[in-house]
């Protein structure tokens, strides 16, 4: 615990929240509106600033100046607590995600703890409290139904979520997320193992359950973040907005931002686990063909550029996944509630479970 460590950690935390996550959240909302518009043959918000880029700022100003209305029949304390609980876990999760290699010798991860992925699950499982409390404290029927739906949905899909990552950790042998990235740099991404001894048949066989795992995990993240094919807690048509029906002004905005922050952290976890984290393989023909690893270890300005390049790579990957989230949202209709439960318990749970055995079998047979 020296001063250097505390200073850099604080810088990373503040930078991550105020420079990366919050702007990213507000621009994700803007992107969502633009993407949805483009998919539906419209243009979307393009008035405020060049190409509508200042729209998030205008939205924030609008939310701040709207009347903050508290209905009379609500449970005041929990009604006020719920939006905070919706926002905080989503942001806290990012603490263990390695979003870059190193920059000037400082590792680009806020807390590199040895139970990284468990921390992610633990914190994201707390995210349900915000929604359940909002539903309950509103003391109104639609929000309550939304809260009940949300809690059962989250519990159901947390199982698939947890089981789907086990193959990754069977392979890596460690729960630390930086080690997962390190493994992928040496052996290729989980879903595309073309680095390392790529002639090994077992490795390519392993990619099949890994891709299955990737799909199950991604779909479970959709369900956990209440994104569209699974947005039953806030189904506008049946529940009039679900758990945030009774909220207005900035409190409503916090729910909204919390959902997008959860989406961003979910994408960051997917990128870290399956898509190689901050790693971008660059082929080098200099002295025979080999894969080049760009990171922040090089001396001088090359190291700084490398470190920044890694951070940029990571966030480009996250942005690509966010686009996929939006693309899916504006393509698929909502599930019916019994279909959702059936899908979670009878299909994804089983697929994830069988997947673990397949991976374990391949690992045992090919002696990794």
């Amino acid at each position: 615990m020296n001063v250097f460590f505390i200073t850099t950690s604080l810088l990373k935390i503040i930078g991550m929240i105020f420079v990366v996550i919050l702007p990213m959240v507000s621009y994700a909302v803007y992107a969502e509106r633009r993407v949805s518009a483009l998919i539906q043959d419209r243009l979307g918000p393009n008035r405020v600033g060049p190409a509508g880029l200042f729209q998030p700022i205008a939205d924030a100003a609008k939310f701040l100046f709207k009347e903050d209305f508290t209905p009379a029949q609500v449970n005041k304390f929990y009604y006020w607590l719920a939006p905070c609980l919706a926002m905080v876990p989503a942001i806290t999760t990012i603490a263990v995600v390695p979003f870059g290699s190193t920059l000037l010798g400082v590792p680009m991860v806020i807390a590199d703890i040895n139970v990284g992925i468990l921390y992610v699950f633990a914190i994201s499982s707390l995210g349900v409290y915000g929604i359940v409390l909002a539903g309950w404290a509103s003391n109104s029927k639609y929000p309550f139904l939304g809260g009940v739906r949300s809690s059962s949905q989250m519990i159901s899909y947390e199982l698939s979520l947890g089981l789907a990552v086990i193959p990754v950790f069977l392979l890596v042998g460690n729960l630390r997320l930086t080690n997962v990235v390190r493994y992928q740099i040496e052996n290729g991404w989980m879903i595309a193992p073309f680095i390392g001894d790529w002639a090994n048949l077992g490795k390519w066989l392993l990619a099949i359950p890994m891709i299955t795992s990737f799909f199950v995990f991604t779909i479970a993240v959709f369900a956990e973040t209440n994104r569209l094919p699974f947005d039953l807690p806030e189904a506008e048509q049946e529940l009039a907005g679900g758990y945030h029906t009774e909220y207005s002004s900035m409190k409503f905005a916090l729910f909204f931002l919390g959902e997008y922050a959860a989406m961003i952290t979910g994408s960051a976890i997917i990128v870290t686990l399956f898509l190689g984290g901050w790693h971008l393989p660059l082929p080098s023909l200099h002295g025979g063909f080999h894969w080049l690893v760009v990171d922040g270890t090089a001396p001088g300005w090359r190291g700084v550029v490398g470190g920044l390049f890694n951070i940029a790579t990571f966030f480009v990957k996250v942005a690509a996944l966010l686009f996929m989230f939006m693309w899916v949202r504006w393509t698929l209709p909502r599930f019916r509630y019994d279909q959702l439960m059936r899908l979670g318990w009878l299909f994804f749970f089983e697929i994830a479970l069988v997947n673990i055995f397949i991976v374990a079998g391949i690992l045992a047979y090919f002696q990794f």
Binding site: V35, A37, L38, I39, Q40, D41, R42, N46, V328
Partner: protein
């Protein structure tokens, strides 16, 4: 009697739903791509693009007073339009034309002519009833204002919108 609708039997490919989802994703990304590259016709961007040029000939916009080619205000303050106007949007105060004037035989002119655009319903009855071909519905549709007073078009404003009308009967001019 209740009718039971037979559910279609699906084969395993249909029941997997994945091909259907993939097909849907392809459709949406095609729309996305086409809109980005401007290949799809999108909503008109209103203040920049207007459909003024493609307005039909019979379009009924703001009612306006017109002058003829001599520059004379054609209205004779007969008040027929004021009488016919269904929402009573028109208010006319007639004045007398002095006998020394070239058009003394017209006798009356509108001292004030107000149309309350908050009330106007663009029915075009004033235009129809006018015996002097003095009031016409123009193609202006963006009529806005911050106060109710601003929304009342007075005579000057109406003449400004109306402008000069060509090809109307000049019945008050002296015979040559």
């Amino acid at each position: 009697m209740a009718i039971t609708v037979a559910r279609p039997k699906r084969n395993w490919r249909e029941r997997l739903y994945l091909p259907a989802i993939a097909a849907g994703m392809v459709i949406t990304i095609k729309h996305f791509k086409n809109t980005i590259f401007g290949r799809t016709k999108v909503t008109m961007q209103y203040p920049e693009e207007k459909w003024d040029s493609s307005l039909p000939e019979h379009y009924r916009g703001a009612p306006a007073l017109v002058r003829d080619t001599d520059g004379r205000v054609r209205c004779v303050a007969c008040q027929l339009c004021e009488f016919i106007c269904p929402p009573r949007a028109i208010k006319i105060i007639p004045g007398e034309i002095p006998s020394t004037d070239r058009f003394a035989k017209v006798e009356k002119y509108p001292e004030e002519f107000d149309i309350d655009m908050v009330r106007c319903i663009f029915c075009g009855m004033c235009e129809e009833v006018c015996p002097e071909q003095a009031i016409f519905l123009r193609k202006d549709y963006a009529i806005t204002g911050f106060t109710r007073e601003e929304m009342v078009h007075d005579k000057d404003k109406l003449l400004e919108i109306g402008g000069v009308m060509h090809g109307v009967v000049l019945k008050w001019n002296e015979k040559k």
